[in-house]
Homo-oligomer: 321 residues x 2
């Protein structure tokens, strides 16, 4: 088989945790993501030929989640490679919306298509989770799964990896407010308690059960009240200046609930409907301006679609969007 | 309004926990339960006029879950009462299938109907949970909710009480093996750890998410593998002689999974379909005979129906079934 010269894929940024669903639930947003282009090279091995958009991610192929995932992919297939990789980062690293996952998801979806789809999406999720382990020191799949599969994903189990995908309720929207401070996943994970009171654990899985029920029933109120997180939010919120005021504002404006996106510092609110989401966003912006911390906001539906091939014409140019 | 002389209601026995769903998930079985009859009396107050079937429950109205629930019910309505109560216990106390809950559920459903249904089913669940607190020292609703509502119930939250009911998958059956040893809920609760490792808690709520998903999708395999319980089973199984051999037998025979029902000692297996349930039951019986512990077994569909009025003809006789 003669393969085309280049291939390019896009993978969305993702919101994970949703309060009670710590480490197991995630979904993609719509208008922010990373793009990865693969180009045939004459030199065996892998080289990062360009990183555009948000920078600050490693150029060393063994350290970059996109190229690390690619190496694992070709190793698994026992195929030699000679590749140049261009990465366009539309997702800022350390923002809490799965920047590393977007890169590895896009890279894997591109490579898999290039090779004639030898792997299932679930196998790609597994490889991408290995990439997360390299980058953050712990294998987690709650960003890579939604980045690849789209929709709301549940990580039921890590060993073996068992992922469930749920179609998102049609009117489920999210607001993200990203304070421009960096919180490294690694640092944020070290804050987690080693153990939790038994009764808090029961309370948390009661809420998880409610949250999953809410998704299946499109019961927006239930989704909102089930996001309650008695374990992680009290600890991690300390990393985010003005967190509880922001949350209070979102709730007052009619958000279903509000929590920390991933390991932060982005704050996410869920809303019923686009109009409400924009109103909540506006209120959150007004509230957060008082903190003097610069920030960005996004409003997006919970995206049923995961990573996809952008343009697989042979002869396509660079990876920029 | 002139009320009839007697009223009688039946409430099914219930299976709770289902492994990972400790303290939050339950469902009724079909052919075992308690019946409670209320009869007008000339003497103000409440008196237990008879307890038939399994005995060993308190005759003192303040200590019996049926009459305690009734007293709370009439107090809440601010109505005086003059009642005789007959209780037929089809569920053996201390067996792990919600014996106390069946009594209070039947009593409340009878009384509510008698009074012209002033309370919602959810309010009855709340009252019945208070009765559980009186009986076992901790307010739990994972037996009373399914006994009253039927189907699979989730206790999302205790404060405030928030209960979700799910229609059971059509082919979901359970096998119960009840070793004839008594395990008191109170004793069994004292064995629970005060805290759990964080990673075990995450593992547990991942499984809870899978279990709830399995119910909504009627995905039997998913239900089975999501029952995995890394927190409670290792501790409580010690109270049940031959537990792991029994579980192994059930799994080998094709049960979806097997766990402890409520606080034990009953062991419950879930199966897809009636035929498989009977086969699993037979294998479990053969296996358990080697322990020399006497036992009973039940095979039942997961029952979509909760408590109901048995016969509200005026002039009906005693409460025996």
């Amino acid at each position: 088989m003669k393969r085309q010269e280049t291939i390019k894929a896009y993978a969305p940024a993702t919101v994970s945790n949703l309060g009670s669903g710590f480490d197991i639930i995630g979904f993609p947003i719509r208008d922010a993501g990373d793009t990865v282009l693969l180009r045939k090279s004459d030199t065996p091995g892998m080289r990062i030929a360009g990183i555009t958009g948000y920078t600050g991610v490693p150029w060393l192929p063994e350290k970059n989640t996109a190229t690390f995932a690619l190496m694992k992919f070709f190793e698994r297939l026992e195929v030699d490679y000679a590749l140049e990789v261009e990465i366009h980062k539309g997702v800022k690293p350390g923002s809490g919306v799965g920047s590393s996952a977007s890169s590895s998801a896009a890279a894997l979806v591109a490579a898999n298509k290039w090779m004639g789809s030898p792997m299932s999406k679930m196998q790609l999720v597994e490889l991408a989770a290995e990439s997360e382990a390299m980058a953050s020191g712990s294998s987690h799949a709650d960003n890579v799964a939604p980045a690849i599969l789209g929709g709301i994903t549940i990580i039921r189990s890590y060993e073996p990896l068992d992922v469930i995908r749920i179609d998102p309720p049609a009117e489920l929207w999210t607001v993200l407010l990203h304070p421009q401070i960096e919180v490294r996943t690694e640092t944020s994970r070290k804050m987690l308690p080693e153990s939790v009171p038994f009764k808090d654990a029961v309370c948390q899985w009661g809420n998880v059960a409610g949250l999953i029920s809410g998704f299946y029933r499109s019961d927006y109120e239930l989704i909102g009240r089930s996001m309650q997180d008695v374990i992680v939010e009290p600890v991690r919120s300390r990393l985010i200046p003005g967190y509880y005021e922001l949350k209070e504002t979102a709730l007052q404006e009619g958000a279903l609930n509000c929590s920390i996106s991933g390991s932060g510092p982005s704050v996410m609110a869920l809303c019923k409907g686009e109009e409400k989401a924009h109103a909540v966003c506006k209120a959150m912006e007004a509230s957060y301006e008082t903190t003097q911390v610069p920030f960005q906001t996004y409003v997006s539906p919970v995206n049923p679609q995961g990573a996809y091939i952008v343009d697989d014409d042979p002869g396509m140019g660079a990876a920029g969007q």
